[in-house]
């Protein structure tokens, strides 16, 4: 059963940026796009264990801070070497100024 979990307030993330969210022993990355939409993915790069929240958001791309691997954070798709495995994404909704993510 998937649960909706409060990750952060809408203003906790700047536009075109990402923050880290830890829950239940897992780490997630929560994104705010330049279009003011919110997205969530796993918090670690699929290449090596680096926090994506330390990376750079450019349009719909998150770039890993360790090896500059790039993912589309909206779809999780890996955009080429050195990342080859897609990133897991999670449904997001905004309610009463809070960003909620659905974690299975």
């Amino acid at each position: 059963m998937a649960d909706w979990v409060e990750a952060c307030g809408v203003d906790d993330i700047e536009e075109e940026d990402v923050i880290r969210f830890d829950h239940g022993g897992r780490t997630f990355a929560i994104y705010r796009s330049p279009d003011d939409e919110y997205f969530a993915t796993d918090g670690f790069c699929t290449h090596e264990k680096a926090h994506l929240a330390d990376g750079l958001v450019m349009d719909d791309i998150i770039e890993c801070p360790k090896h500059n691997g790039r993912f589309n954070y909206k779809t999780g798709v890996a955009k080429g070497a050195p990342v080859c495995v897609n990133l897991a994404t999670y449904p997001v909704k905004v309610e009463a100024g809070k960003v909620m993510i659905q974690i299975s």
């Binding site: 750079l56 450019m58 801070p65 955009k79 080859c84």
Partner: protein, 364 residues
Amino acid sequence: MATTTKTKRDYSLVGESTRIAIEIGLASAEWYHTDVPRKAMKELMQRSDGPAIRDTIIWIVAILGSAAGVIWFWGTWWVVPFLLVYGVLYGSSSDSRWHECGHGTAFRTRWMNDAVYQIASFMLMRNPVTWRWSHARHHTDTIIVGRDAEIAVMRPPDLLRAALAFTGILDFRYSLPTLMRNAFGSISPEEKSFIPEMELHKMVTAARWHVAIYVAAIALALYWWSFLPLVLIGLPRLYGSWHMVLTGLLQHIGLADNVTDHRLNTRTVYMNPISRFIYWNMNYHVEHHMFPMVPYHALPRLHELIKHDLPEPNPSMWHAYREVWPVLLKQLQYEDYFLKRELSPTARPYREEFHALTVPAAAE
């Protein structure tokens, strides 16, 4: 000071040192980072096409201009200065272009990074696939013996080999057979250790393209019965790589290995503006390793922001080589010996845990 060599280093990527590095947690470890506020780091990481387009136009114009000089003055002594310039642009500055575009930080636009990366890889006689992955490993496990595929000077140092590196001969001798081997579809166990299987076919394809261009250059040379095509394509890797070696050797030489703090195994050196253009600011090497997301043009700003936490940079290449030379001589006898550079008083202490475990001797 302990000076007895305990264990001979095994630089193979599939050997005993590899096993130990994985076992004790040196492989894919968490590294020390200077604290930088997210807002400042975000600004530093910002990508822009402008500086790299400007520099690339200068680079290409200078390459084509010096190549024109080589062709025009071929057969006379006037060709020498043009060869010097062309050689360094082809055989040395391509290294920093390869490096920055491999990281994807030089340009904001992805295809521009990819295009320059492919061209520079060819100029360097480097397989663009192999080297993308070996460099990723270099950043994961910087100067971790048995893990890092890009350790330029191993211990004990082979000084003759290091000197010959300035001529490009050794690199040429390694790169050309590797290229041929890959072109025939042969992949070594070491290559398989850091390149994912799904990428291996791309490595073979890239090698075949490179070989095809070299074959065309050789055919042209035979057709014209002139060395000129080879002097312009391929051979600059020999006569023009000295600047790459001059600057690149200083990145890690004489410093610690098997540590997880870039301040211990990497060096920042202040350089003249011409070398910095050729090297694309990679003289700020501690900064680059700590924060590889920061583009070359923002490294001086990053340096200003974090220098309080780093060892004092070497004020010149000459100073750095003078500092390194006695360390290398000492390493001939005691391969565990290394240079531990003094931190500024404002810095946080070195991260010592792995360092204390594996490398007991240091010069301060």
